[in-house]
Symmetry: C2
Subunit: 468 residues, 2 copies
């Protein structure tokens, strides 16, 4: 009986959506594209009630209003590159895809801003900024597929957080559709605006559970004119921290990356992943990729001097300095090789935990030992954006018929809890990490998150069951 009512409600909702938005915007039944059934979270496909693809913000608001009126849940979808399941469809819910809400609306050179529609890919924004003589600083591996709306919804991090901040730091204005279908346009271009609560902060990083981003005003930066990079070998984590301190003081705000790789990671990346150059030879306790983005060529000499100084001081054991942009690219190859670990190791778990910078190596040692002890044969690889407090882990039992995913999660997150870290530095909670949120957030914090969710979405219709 209940199912029947719900089926009727669903059919009525689809009819109402088709009527309001046109049948081409609403895809149901066999017309639902494969692409909309899942994201990159590997949680597997789910068939939504319908896929709705409006081409303007009003269409998104209309869809949300109709869904709300019929009590149908809505899952917002962008480039579907999320790793935590935030845009994975829900059975009986509408997948509201922003894939047709694309385009650059304006570049304001005086304000140094770009206004974009939420479905626009990150790469398209990077290119438009470049064409206009600016630099859009957000960058991550999925740049060609991910949508800026999703980057905002997950507060994406990426490679240059140390210099330019997270996505949150690049958003000046937002237009959002609220769970009741209200279109809230707040396309502020000003860096400073203290007129009441800064509402956009609510929607950045809340993974589409409080509102659907339809447009955004983003900050642009001046183009960097030279890139300097080196890969260094160091003998201890204390020396890594000392090198980080010196690098911060020496390079100041031009420091754009400080990536640390533990030796187990380094070995797989440079010896087992094909076509990866090994910039420094010999065995070291740590490998650091340090990068600076300068405005003038003469900053290269200073970068070289930093490395010489650290070498003479006995902090660095060995260093290779990039002589060209293709060297820089090759150096990043060892760091980006993580994306190829699946080919080499087979199925595995991957993590984006955060930890106090000083505790990273203690954590890595404890985690590696406990995984190996409790899950015989388990190998683990540690690397990450250390200066940002963000460590990535890849862990698996090579050759196992069935990977002990849950047991790996339990160990990794239990140690995160005892080290006062975070279960997600950049990918978000979505569905995959929801169970572990209390490891990182106190009961008071969780209660407040639920209050906020209830205030904005009292009927729980927007991306239900995600995050909180």
């Amino acid at each position: 009986m209940l199912t029947k009512m719900s089926t009727n409600a669903s059919a009525e909702a689809i009819r109402a959506l088709e009527e309001a938005l046109g049948p081409a915007v609403v895809l149901s039944g066999a017309d639902i594209p494969e692409r909309n059934l899942q994201d990159w979270s590997t949680l597997g496909p789910v068939r939504p009630l319908a896929v709705v693809r409006p081409s303007d913000a009003q269409g998104v608001a209309t869809a949300m209003r109709i869904a709300s009126r019929h009590g149908i849940a809505v899952v917002p979808q962008g480039g579907l590159t999320g790793l935590a399941g935030g845009s994975r469809p829900i059975e009986g819910a509408i997948a509201l895809s922003l894939e047709r809400l694309v385009g650059i609306e304006e570049i304001d050179a005086a304000a140094a801003t770009v206004t974009v529609k939420a479905g626009t890919t990150l790469e398209a924004i990077q290119r438009a900024a470049d064409d206009a003589g600016f630099f859009f600083a957000l960058d991550l591996g999925a740049r060609g597929s991910c949508a800026i709306g999703g980057n905002i919804g997950t507060n994406a991090g990426g490679n240059r957080v140390i210099r330019y901040g997270m996505t949150r730091d690049m958003v000046l204005g937002l237009e959002v559709v609220l769970p009741d279908g209200t279109l809230m346009t707040s396309l502020n271009k000003m860096i400073k605006n203290n007129a009441g609560f800064d509402l956009k902060q609510l929607f950045i990083g809340s993974e589409g559970t409080l509102g659907i981003v339809t447009r955004a005003v983003l900050r642009l930066h001046p183009k960097p004119n030279c890139v300097m990079a080196a890969v260094c070998g160091l003998g201890s984590y204390d020396k890594v921290l000392s090198f980080l301190g010196s690098t911060r003081r020496w390079l100041g705000p031009t420091l754009s990356a400080f990536e640390v790789m533990w030796p187990d990671y380094w070995q797989v990346a440079t010896q087992r992943v094909p076509n990866i150059r090994r910039p420094v030879s010999g065995e070291h306790a740590f490998y650091v990729l340090v990068e600076g983005m300068g405005t003038h060529e003469d900053e290269k000499a200073r970068f070289d001097a930093l490395l010489e100084n650290q070498m003479e001081a006995g902090i660095i054991e060995d260093a290779a300095v990039a002589q060209s942009l293709s060297d820089v690219k090759a150096f990043w190859g060892a760091r980006d090789a993580a994306a190829e670990f699946r080919q080499v190791l087979g199925p595995h778990s991957s993590f984006d935990i955060g930890l106090p910078v000083a505790d990273m190596d203690i954590y890595a040692g404890a985690c590696r030992a406990r995984l190996a002890r409790e899950l015989p044969g388990c190998e683990s690889y540690f690397y990450g954006h250390i200066a940002d407090g963000n460590m990535h882990i890849i862990a698996c039992v090579p050759g196992a018929a069935q990977q002990p995913y849950e047991a790996i999660d339990d160990i990794v997150y239990d140690l995160v809890r005892s080290h006062g870290g975070t279960i997600s530095a950049e990918h978000g909670i979505g569905l995959k990490k929801k169970k572990f949120l209390p490891y990182t957030r106190s009961p008071a914090e969780l209660e407040l998150m639920r209050s906020i969710k209830a205030a904005l979405d009292p009927r729980g219709l927007l991306n239900p069951g995600k995050v909180v």
Copy 2:
């Protein structure tokens, strides 16, 4: 009858507070210090029911819990330097002062963070950071008196936003007492933490209406090793914008200030305010103070080269370059002279509006003309952090028996509305600008602010009547 009940409730609340916190913490009647009766908003003194001064976060939570139980409102107070009335007492409400919740708890060199109690002055934090070899970048005129809790509550801006961001950008973790007395400790030190909603954003800039900040983890930066500054004369606003673009490209992330002064302002600042040096001679349509903070002495040559280049290109008409730190200080003198305008002009209105950068001069022209036309004798002076989209205005009718404060507000804010600006770039809304909030925020935004307030503080006990 109602008053009597309320008086009884008040007396009971004070008794309960004294019992829980000790009589020395609770000051009522004649013991209420003069200092707690008003802030810098010039709205005049108000006598609160009592002043409560706990010395730890638990005490703040206890006070809030008792107030909540007795239905008594609470106004949080820090350094009382706010300009919008956010910490002005309310009759019948408790003033909850954080003046005894002071001290630096920890400096973590690896994470580059400082953990502080909310009543600590900005200057004390700057000094502690300096002593530890770091730089705490927030800076504003009231540094010796303002408390960091108030800086966070108002999302203070100040002089270096262009390089280091607002207070929001410096806060990594917060401890907050919620309106029901819950103590929510979220002293995160990690730059990246995407584990659920980023709750701290709610409390930053909401002027003590959603929670009371008790402790904070703040970001530290490397110390800049050289400061470069120049005052330039330019012939048009287009040239100012062109100069801004070149400066951004040339100095990159070392650009720390780009302050523009219109000629009316310049004349009062350099000719009527005593002891202010006039760095450039001659008459110009605009005066720009540009500042860079570098990590190496060799950056000075680049700064000089920028100015030469802009001079040769005909963008700058004249420039004086600081040769020493005392020059830098003297150059800022002309900009900081605004604080002395009261002595020269007498009572006046002052504003911290925000505007799209490209529209600033059009706004200034329209505002000046309309003030003079509608309020005979009205003079207005324009200056500000132009690269941040933030303009300050001082306006008055010199010698008038009664300043037309309301009429000036109406004109200034009406034009802000028609130019798509903000009524507050940095000082906040408090009581003084509440009436004008709809000029800057849409009905949908205001409705959402009210929903958030109702969700966190359903009985309206925390700083009631402020902001929303």
